[in-house]
C-alpha cells in the first residue's frame, strides 16, 4: 500500500489545483466515493470517464473530479470501499461478468473469423487454412497453430518493437487449452493420408485490452472455429492441393477431396472465467484497472459439460483455499451457460443470414 501511494502521487502532478490533493483527505470525499457507482448506473458506457462532470452540469465538476483524483491516488482504498458495499466501480455485483457479445465472420479474407467483446475487451480471431505434409508419426492428422497478438493499438503499455510480455504467455496458454480440451479432432483435418493435411493457423488479435484477456481470446477462438468454412480443394497433377474454383463453370478435372468435410465437428467447447481473489472477496471478470490493483488472478476453464479443463493461478499474494476454488468453479459454471447461449445465438444469427 505505501508504495502504491507514492507511485500515484507522481501522477497527481497532472491536476491543475495543487490543493486538491489536500481536500482528498476530508471525510466528505469518502461519501462521494460511494456516489460514483450510482453515477455509473445512469451511464455505464465507456465514455463516462472521459466526460466526468458534464453529466450533472458545471456545479458538480469539482466533486466528480475529486472522486476521479481519489481513484487515481488511492486505487486500493477506492476499490475496497466499493467491495464493502458489494458493488464494483462499474456498478456490477462481485460475481457478475460484463456484457458479452459475439459476431461471426468479421474478416472476409479468412476462412473463419469472430469478434468477441467482453465489456471493453475486444478480440478478433481469424483462421486461415493452409496445406502441409503430415508428419510420419501421425499421417492422418492435421495441425492447429495458435498465436495471440497484442498490437500497439490495444493498450498504452504496448509499444511497437517491444511486444507485450503477456502475449506469448497467453499464446501458450490458449494453445494448451484448445489442444487439450479435445475440441478439435485433428483427424478431421486430414486430406490425403500421409500426403496432405490442413494446418489451421488461428491468429487472435487483442484490439482493446481491458482485463480478462484470456477469457475473451478463448471465446473468440472457439467462435472462429464454429464459423470455419473449409475450402473445397482437389489434388492437381503436380501433387499440390488447389482450391476448386466455382467461377469457371466447367467441371474440374480432378475430383475434390473434401467435399463432405467443410465444417469441423466441435466437441466440448472450452469456456473460461477469470476471477480476482482479494482478501475474502471473489471478483469475476475483472477490468484492467482491477487487475492492476489486486493482482491475484485465477482462471478456470470448463467445457460445455462443465468438466474442468484447466485451472490456472499464477502466484499472487492471496492463497486459494478449497472453498474459494469451489466458489470460483461455481461462478464459472454459471458463466459457461451464459457463454454457450451467446455462442449458439451467434451461430444461429449467421445461419439466418
Amino acid at each position: 500500500m505505501p508504495y502504491q501511494q507514492h507511485h500515484s502521487l507522481s501522477r497527481a502532478t497532472q491536476f491543475d489545483k495543487p490543493n486538491l490533493i489536500m481536500q482528498l483527505f476530508t471525510p466528505r470525499d469518502m461519501k462521494l466515493v460511494i456516489k460514483q457507482p450510482l453515477f455509473s448506473l445512469i451511464d455505464p458506457s465507456s465514455r463516462e470517464r472521459k466526460m466526468v462532470g458534464s453529466a450533472n452540469g458545471a456545479t458538480d465538476l469539482s466533486s466528480e473530479m475529486e472522486v476521479d483524483a481519489f481513484r487515481r491516488l488511492f486505487p486500493l482504498r477506492f476499490h475496497e470501499r466499493h467491495l464493502l458495499e458489494s458493488v464494483r466501480p462499474d456498478a456490477r455485483s462481485l460475481g457478475k461478468a460484463r456484457e458479452t457479445s459475439l459476431a461471426l465472420g468479421a474478416v472476409a479474407s479468412a476462412d473463419g473469423s469472430a469478434l468477441a467483446k467482453i465489456g471493453c475487451t475486444t478480440m478478433l480471431a481469424a483462421i486461415k487454412m493452409e496445406v502441409m505434409t503430415p508428419s510420419k508419426e501421425a499421417p492422418d492428422e492435421g495441425c492447429v497453430a495458435i498465436d495471440f497478438h497484442m498490437p500497439p493499438i490495444c493498450s498504452p503499455i504496448v509499444r511497437p518493437g517491444r511486444p507485450a510480455e503477456a502475449a506469448p504467455v497467453a499464446s501458450k496458454q490458449l494453445s494448451d487449452t484448445i489442444i487439450s480440451s479435445g475440441m478439435i479432432d485433428l483427424k478431421e483435418l486430414s486430406l490425403v493420408s500421409g500426403k496432405a493435411a490442413w494446418m489451421a493457423y488461428l491468429d487472435i488479435y487483442c484490439l482493446d485490452a481491458d482485463g480478462a484477456l484470456f477469457d475473451a481470446a478463448l471465446l473468440a477462438a472457439a467462435a472462429a472455429f464454429s464459423h470455419l468454412q473449409i475450402p473445397v480443394v482437389s489434388l492437381n497433377d503436380d501433387g499440390r492441393i488447389v482450391v476448386v474454383s466455382k467461377e469457371n463453370g466447367e467441371k474440374p478435372k480432378n475430383k475434390p477431396v473434401n467435399e463432405e468435410k467443410r465444417k469441423l465437428k466441435l466437441r466440448s467447447i472450452p469456456f473460461a472465467l477469470t476471477c480476482i481473489l482479494h482478501k475474502n472477496y471473489i471478483l469475476a471478470d475483472p477490468t484492467a484497472e482491477e487487475e492492476s490493483i489486486m493482482d491475484t488472478l485465477i482462471t478456470i476453464v470448463l467445457d460445455t459439460s462443465c468438466q474442468l479443463v484447466s485451472l490456472y493461478k499464477p502466484g499472487g499474494p492471496a492463497l486459494a483455499y478449497e472453498s474459494v476454488l469451489q466458489d470460483c468453479i461455481a461462478l464459472s459454471r454459471q458463466r459457461v451457460k451464459e457463454l454457450q447461449k451467446i455462442l449458439n445465438e451467434a451461430i444461429l444469427d449467421m445461419d439466418v443470414d
Partner: protein, 261 residues
C-alpha cells in the same frame, strides 16, 4: 508457433491466385467492369466511427469496402528517454498488418516501415505540434483486412482518431488514391486493381484549407492524366472530408445527449 511438438512444417496456401501473375485481359479493355461493379470515378462507401478502442486517448475505425483499419492515439505522453529536448511535440507513427489481412497469410506483415513514414509525413503538416512541447503523440494503426487503398484509409482514419483524442490540428486530413490502368483512371482501387495498375497517385490534403500535405505519384503517367487524376482526388478528398466531419459531429452529439439523460 505450432501447437504440436517439433518444428512447424512448411505450409502453402491452396488458393490458386498466387500462380496467376499475368494481367487478365479485362483490365486493358476500354469498357470493362470493375471487380466490385463500381463506376470508374466512384469511391467505395466509407464507414467511419470514432471511439473504437477504449484504452486509447482517441481512436477510430474505418471500413472502405474490404479495407478495415483501426487507429489508436496515445498521448501526448512522455517522450523516450533517449530523445533530445524539443520545443515542439513529436509524432510517432506505426502501421502493422494482421497476419490474415492479405489473401495469403502473413504476406504483408514485413515491409510496413515505408507506410509508417508516409503516414507520419502526411499527418505532421496538419498537427499543431507546438501545442504539446516535450511530449510525444503515438499514432498506431492496425490493418485488420487489406482490400486496396490501405494507406489512404489509414491516413484518413488516423486524422479522425487524432481529432477524437483532442489533438489540435489545422484541419482533418483526407486521403484518396487513383490508379491508372491502361487508358482508364479508377478512383479508390481495390487490391486486384492495384496489382495490375500502371501507375498510382495519392493525395492527402486538408480539405477545408485546400492544402496538400502529401502527393505521391508512381509509375507511368502523362501530364494531362496527372491533371485529371489530381482533380479527381481533390474532389473526392473534399467529399471524404465532409463525411469525416459529420462522423465527428455525430459522435460529439451522441456523447452529449447520453450525458444529459
Amino acid at each position: 508457433m505450432a501447437a504440436k511438438g517439433g518444428a512447424a512444417p512448411a505450409t502453402y496456401s491452396p488458393s490458386p491466385t498466387t500462380f496467376k501473375k499475368k494481367r487478365p485481359p479485362i483490365f486493358t479493355d476500354v469498357d470493362w467492369v470493375r471487380p466490385d461493379g463500381r463506376d470508374f470515378h466512384q469511391c467505395r462507401p466509407a464507414f467511419l466511427r470514432t471511439g473504437a478502442v477504449n484504452a486509447a486517448s482517441g481512436s477510430a475505425y474505418a471500413e472502405f469496402g474490404n479495407t478495415k483499419v483501426i487507429v489508436s492515439i496515445f498521448g501526448p505522453r512522455e517522450s523516450k528517454k533517449a530523445m533530445m529536448y524539443s520545443d515542439t511535440g513529436r509524432l510517432n507513427c506505426n502501421v502493422t498488418y494482421t497476419t490474415f489481412a492479405t489473401p495469403v497469410r502473413g504476406q504483408a506483415s514485413s515491409d510496413n516501415k515505408e507506410i509508417s513514414s508516409q503516414l507520419h509525413k502526411s499527418l505532421e503538416g496538419a498537427i499543431m505540434l507546438d501545442t504539446f512541447p516535450k511530449t510525444t503523440v503515438d499514432v498506431f494503426a492496425l490493418v485488420l483486412e487489406s482490400g486496396g487503398c490501405d494507406l489512404p484509409v489509414v491516413i484518413s482514419c488516423a486524422s479522425l482518431a487524432l481529432a477524437d483524442a483532442g489533438i489540435m490540428m489545422f484541419d482533418l486530413v483526407a486521403a484518396v488514391s487513383v490508379s491508372c490502368l491502361g487508358k482508364n483512371l479508377v478512383i479508390d482501387p481495390v487490391s486486384e486493381e492495384e496489382n495490375y495498375q500502371d501507375g498510382s497517385l495519392m493525395i492527402t490534403c486538408l480539405p477545408s484549407r485546400n492544402e496538400v500535405t502529401q502527393l505521391t505519384i508512381t509509375g507511368e503517367w502523362s501530364s494531362p492524366k496527372i491533371h485529371e487524376a489530381m482533380e479527381l482526388c481533390l474532389d473526392a478528398c473534399s467529399k471524404l472530408g465532409k463525411i469525416m466531419r459529420s462522423c465527428l459531429k455525430e459522435s460529439a452529439s451522441t456523447s452529449t445527449s447520453t450525458s444529459q439523460e
